[in-house]
Symmetry: C2
């Protein structure tokens, strides 16, 4: 067993903060990702958390600030469950680092994404009781994990617009996949913001603040912003001038065969995932066994819900030699994925939504 209860074959990018993703094939077998396989993205040390002493504060632009123990919170509002795919903004970053180096950022493969069944309460219910005041426009989440990566070092935080916070899918969750939320995934309570970058699903949540402006936390105001691909000199590293990342866009990855695998040639099962944005589903996935020269249509699983990835499967007849397998997805709005990572490269390595490519050697 690896750190934090993770399986032995996780790729641990950093031990502290703990950043780890499962091998790609481990994501291929089921819609829900087991807790020991779920990717883990942190910005500081996992904080000590004593559920008995833990409280959630709800404050800011509200008529009735709240302070609640976990028992109070669980008793006060109707619990609900939802399957949600969480994806890091840096998922598939290695596709961009192959184009040009991205120093200082975790080299995520396609495994910075996982799907859980979360149980908790609706943030909207909490906010309704706290009664946002006129001028309320954003809801900030704060946690106790101090990040040395922030400038200056500060506890992790972020925010979402009030309109998103009031949607029924946004949860404060204490359970994942039918078990108590693992400590490394935010116990006793985390935000779950479906359809948005994982960075907004703040773990070890201790404070919800209603504001007129977005959070001024480093991870909202500076990081997790998509910088220009060709930034002005001196602005690149910090993401300044970039657009804040929030909702997820269409993405897709190949899970099997593994990249750099050596395989027998002939009929080869190929499988992967695709994730459409809010209000959309994955309409089609094409797969190519010759670097995009010809394509065949994959079987795409039905969407199990509006916030969940869809797996796809096909069988390619692979020739002997070095083969590049390529996939491309379309969503139900006809959105096509960009072909080249070169055109998506940015100095923070966010939002690689280019066609996934897997190179294998067939004998």
């Amino acid at each position: 067993m690896n750190a934090w209860g993770k399986r032995d074959d996780m790729t641990v990018h950093e031990r502290d903060p703990f950043n780890a993703e499962p091998p790609r094939s481990a994501l291929a077998d089921s819609r829900l990702t087991p807790a020991d396989t779920f990717y883990s993205r942190n910005h500081g040390p996992v904080p000590a958390a004593d559920p008995a002493r833990w409280r959630l504060e709800v404050d800011g632009l509200v008529d009735r600030p709240l302070s609640l123990s976990l028992d109070e919170l669980r008793a006060r509002w109707e619990p609900t469950e939802l399957e949600v795919t969480l994806q890091c903004a840096g998922n598939r970053r290695t596709g961009l680092t192959e184009v040009r180096d991205i120093p200082g950022e975790t080299p995520w493969g396609p495994g910075a994404i996982s799907t859980g069944r979360f149980r908790g309460i609706r943030l909207a219910d909490v906010l309704a009781d706290a009664r946002p005041r006129p001028g309320a426009a954003h809801v900030a989440f704060a946690a106790p994990d101090v990040s040395p990566l922030a400038d200056p070092p500060q506890p992790y935080g972020g925010s979402v617009p009030l309109a998103k916070a009031l949607r029924p899918e946004v949860l404060l969750a204490w359970s994942m996949n039918g078990a108590p939320l693992p400590h490394v995934h935010g116990a006793p309570l985390r935000a779950v913001v479906p359809g948005w970058i994982g960075a907004r699903s703040v773990k070890w949540l201790t404070r919800v603040t209603v504001r007129s402006t977005p959070s001024d936390n480093y991870f909202q105001a500076v990081a997790y912003r998509l910088p220009p691909a060709d930034p002005e000199p001196g602005t690149a590293a910090s993401g300044e001038g970039g657009t804040p990342l929030g909702p997820l866009s269409l993405n897709c990855a190949i899970l099997r065969p593994d990249d750099r695998a050596h395989l027998p040639c002939g009929p080869t099962p190929v499988t992967g995932y695709a994730l459409a944005g809010h209000g959309r589903t994955v309409a089609r996935v094409d797969v190519s066994g010759d670097s995009g020269g010809s394509w065949q249509r994959a079987d795409v699983s039905a969407a199990a819900g509006p916030w969940v990835w869809q797996h796809w499967h096909t069988t390619l007849d692979l020739p002997r030699g070095d083969v590049e397998i390529v996939a491309r997805a379309w969503d139900s709005a006809g959105t096509a994925m960009p072909e080249s990572p070169g055109r998506l490269w940015n100095p923070k390595g966010y939002a690689n939504t280019s066609w996934p490519r897997t190179r294998v050697r067939c004998r």
Copy 2:
């Protein structure tokens, strides 16, 4: 004055059915498109319409079918107004026909898009009074304009899912830009389905039918489906096997300078539009004066509403000689546009969302 009250410099692709788009520069000057400039897309002859005899029938899976005159309809529900950009699924098709011929489809440039301020009632209010029954899942629109292009020839129609039909932005409109809806744009009453392909905003609307399944009209069941880029032989022409088009994806076009223009070299204003999908805005537009070798960021107008295009402007310093101007937009979900139309080509020529390119000669 051209046919149907359109300006003289419209590009009339066909006289019957009347299909016409404005010159691209005519779309650059204002957020709202004047009625004489608004693109017109038809599938059959514009039907005779006598407002005094016209009625709207609401039927299908409803407890209380309705039959209403225009006066009854206008008196019964609270009117509302909304700015909406309508875009044909075939907008920018010429970017695809440059890759490979697309016989039988109208060669739209970037002008199959326009923005109006529509006044009408909410379809949701009408449906609430008609009371959809259990099993209701789609809302079909029918009109009297018989299309000879359909197989077999039939009146034009289409549908949207009930969840979309119940959203507050979906209107039944009798007015555009403060004036009565022009006859060619659907008077006395048309559907306006913001954020979806123009084909679902059915004109000369006479019937709204609540159904358990999508409309089986030719223009829902066969046309306006995105076929595979590399379809199986024999299935290409009809769009069979394609995914039904509905919500719009991120798009962008260059309006000035005109394609193939001869210009003085030096600082040159460049302007265009970009349109994000539902729940998203245009976050950034980059423009290149050297075919994408280098880029500068354009000023993007604020979104005037959730369903309206955004204009963008910059000034490029163009060198002497043949120059290719390229633009690319990002939406607020970090969605990037595909670079190449070659990778988007499909036998119906829908959904060209590749980087727009304008070639000019500078002297």
